[in-house]
Amino acid sequence: MSAPTEHAHAEGSKRIFLIVWFWLLALTGVELFLGYEQLELKLMLVLLMGLSIIKAALIIAYFMHLRYERPSMAATLMPALVIVIVLMNIFLPDSLRLLHMRPH
């Protein structure tokens, strides 16, 4: 009965882990490079967060093995996380109001 799990773990081979590791390091290098480019803050934030989300997805999918789990597991775990983070983001524009209300 251990056949399905053995099959699942055969998919996460050493080669895949090293490829993922290489890409994570490469994307970190790109982030560091972007840090020294004179970009508009909003564009910079979008690029950095985009790259970080790709890195997080790689870690979750391959290192944390979620890609090889039942799809129902990701469907149970991820939407709540995404919804909560999106809801938190609703408050972010309020910081601009605070900035303009400063007395000095």
Binding site: H9, E31, G35, L48, I59, M64, L81, M88, S95
Partner: protein
């Protein structure tokens, strides 16, 4: 090991459909599902702290950008490299434990712990450096007094996670080596370790790269 076999036995006949029910609807042990649920709640904690940091930063007109290429950015990049590499040693440990190579799995876990300790040590030297420069929780020489609070809270909570992870891995390595724990327990510890790595992937750009002096 016995418990692992029991889980495999329990999985029999379960999950012909994704929501088939039974004892293990996700075809995983309850420890693994429990760790995933903990990771989700911990992810929300870190997301809230990162949001709070972004909020106070945008709301301040004098947020400092104090980080030089050396030491801050070099150290943060090296720390990123160490943490990512320790994730690779951890997947190797999980792989070895699945293949029942106990000694090899313990060695890989010890390697992961060494990476974690190195991370904490480099991070600690960075903290000491900043404190020597005069950064305190609600005071610093450069600008908004909230910089210290945001920096030390975010990186401090993360460092605590790394430190607890090293202890957790030490316990798992010892007990797995003695045969008290199964490969599922190594995998569950690995999930936690990769999550700590994942959080750093957001702290690195938001706290370090966006605070480069220039």
């Amino acid at each position: 090991m016995a418990s692992h076999e029991a889980i495999s036995a329990n999985l029999q006949g379960v999950g012909e459909s994704a929501w088939g029910g039974g004892v293990a609807p996700f075809a995983t042990g309850s420890k693994k599902l429990g760790m995933w649920l903990f990771i989700m709640s911990d992810a929300i904690t870190f997301a809230a702290l990162l949001m709070a940091y972004c909020y106070v930063r945008v709301a301040s007109d004098n947020w400092p950008r104090p980080f030089e290429f050396y030491p801050a950015l070099v150290k943060a990049t090296v720390m990123t490299f160490i943490l990512l590499s320790s994730s690779v040693t951890m997947v190797m440990a999980v792989r070895a434990s699945k293949l029942e190579q106990r000694a090899s799995a313990v060695k890989w876990i010890l390697g992961t712990m060494a990476g974690g300790l190195l991370f904490v040590i480099i991070h600690a030297t960075e903290w000491v450096g900043l404190i020597r420069e005069g950064v305190r929780l609600f005071h610093n020489p450069w600008g908004s007094p909230l910089f210290g609070a945001a920096f030390f809270t975010l990186t401090g909570l993360h460092m605590t996670h790394v430190f607890c992870g090293v202890i957790y891995l030490g316990v798992v390595a010892g007990w797995f080596g003695k045969g008290k724990l199964g490969s599922e327990d190594v995998e569950v510890a690995g999930l936690y370790w990769h999550f700590v790595d994942l959080v750093w992937m957001f702290i690195f750009p938001l706290v370090y790269i966006l605070s480069i002096k220039g």
